[in-house]
């Protein structure tokens, strides 16, 4: 069928328009609502008094539902993500999710009993940065910033910055070193990542 066919042309134009424009822009209140929910769930996990291994499983589940693990893992992999196979990317995403839960879930336990509240939000480039304040009794409040996007089709967070310390930046450095030490072998790096954190 030739492209000049009117119905087909209209269909293609319509398709292009749908692809170019997101169905609905992510609003500030969507982004804040997600972080309220994430912080609520984190508080629930760390204040539950469950065993460490159980908490880590709960954190992994939280990341799977509320974080854009696909985008995070592609980003920390950096340029090698482009030459990786779909199978490698998905194996890495799964390994990285577990590693994040072990490494950061353990550290989140420090925030047990903390008061957490969303104090602001601002638009940065193509996403929202939600600013939250954590207060531990008797200590100076500190700031955690969450980066939220709906580019995956769902409203998910993809980065957190604790008092200036950027999770994606740290993990890009970490995964970069791990890959380099293994001569760029993604499969070996994935196998070792399953033991790390």
């Amino acid at each position: 069928m030739p492209i000049s066919d009117p119905t087909r042309r209209i269909f293609l134009t319509g398709l292009a328009a749908t692809l170019a424009l997101p169905a609905q822009a992510l609003t500030q209140s969507d982004a804040r609502a997600l972080i309220d929910r994430v912080m609520g769930e984190v508080q629930g996990i760390i204040n539950s008094g469950a065993s460490e291994s159980r908490m880590i499983r709960q954190f992994e589940d939280l990341f799977a539902r509320l974080a854009d693990v696909t985008a995070i893992s592609r980003s920390v992999l950096g340029p090698p993500a482009r030459s990786a196979s779909a199978g490698q990317l998905s194996a890495f995403a799964t390994a990285f999710r577990g590693y994040m839960a072990r490494k950061y879930g353990r550290q989140f336990r420090r925030f047990a009993g903390a008061q957490a509240e969303v104090t602001g939000a601002r638009e940065v480039q193509s996403f929202w940065e939600v600013i939250s304040t954590m207060t531990l009794r008797g200590e100076a409040p500190f700031e955690v910033r969450w980066h939220v996007s709906d580019r995956s089709g769902q409203i998910l967070f993809f980065n957190l910055i604790i008092e200036g310390v950027n999770l994606l930046a740290a993990e890009r450095q970490e995964i970069g070193t791990m890959l380099e030490r293994r001569g760029g072998n993604i499969d070996r790096m994935i196998a070792d990542l399953q033991q790390a954190g």
């Binding site: 592609r74 980003s75 993500a81 550290q107 980065n159 200036g164 930046a169 890009r172 970490e174 070193t177």
Partner: protein, 234 residues
Amino acid sequence: MTLFARLLCVVLLLALAACAAPMPPAGANDPFEAANRAQFDANLRLMGGGDSAPRPSPLRRRVINLGDTLGLPSTIANDVLQLRPHHAVENALRLAINATIGLGGLFDPASRVGVHGRRSDFGETLHRWGIEEGAYLVLPLVGPSNQRDALGMAVDLAIDPLRFVLPSRDYGWSLALRGAGRVASAVENADLLDANVIATADPYAQARLLYQQTRRYHLGIASEDDVIDPYADF
């Protein structure tokens, strides 16, 4: 050259200087990496083991509080040099409360009433005066720093108000206590250091990143270049 032409030259030079000023580089400015790595390893060996989360210890708390209180006069002097009267007042209030009700700095009642204070040093004063951080440095015992902050430490030792108030022997003790406070607080945070630095593939690189990020955050340097947008990559 006419007066106008000379003025124009001055304005252009100032504009050029302004362009060349702040904005930290994206990568790490680390021309002394080999020497820094050697010093980093030496510092780590000195710290020894102790990688698990320590139990809270009242004695350790006292040492941390004492070191904090003894560092306040120096912080206040820098607040004044930075023309930040509100910081100077808050830190002075903290000093007054903890030195008296806090029994000479052993306890921290100021934090209980929300007077947390804000640490400062001559490195920050230099930053406020427009000096860039320069190359990354790992100092003996002290650890991660940079050229500006290392110079700042030396100046802080020279201009510490306590030096002019206390007899030199006592001033020596106050420095030792501040050092002990730093060690005690490092012990308190050993689990964080372990997870984010020691246990990583390249502890040196992670410590460098961590120092630069926390330092720039404390100084209020935010660069849009540091924003990571994973959706822009693919």
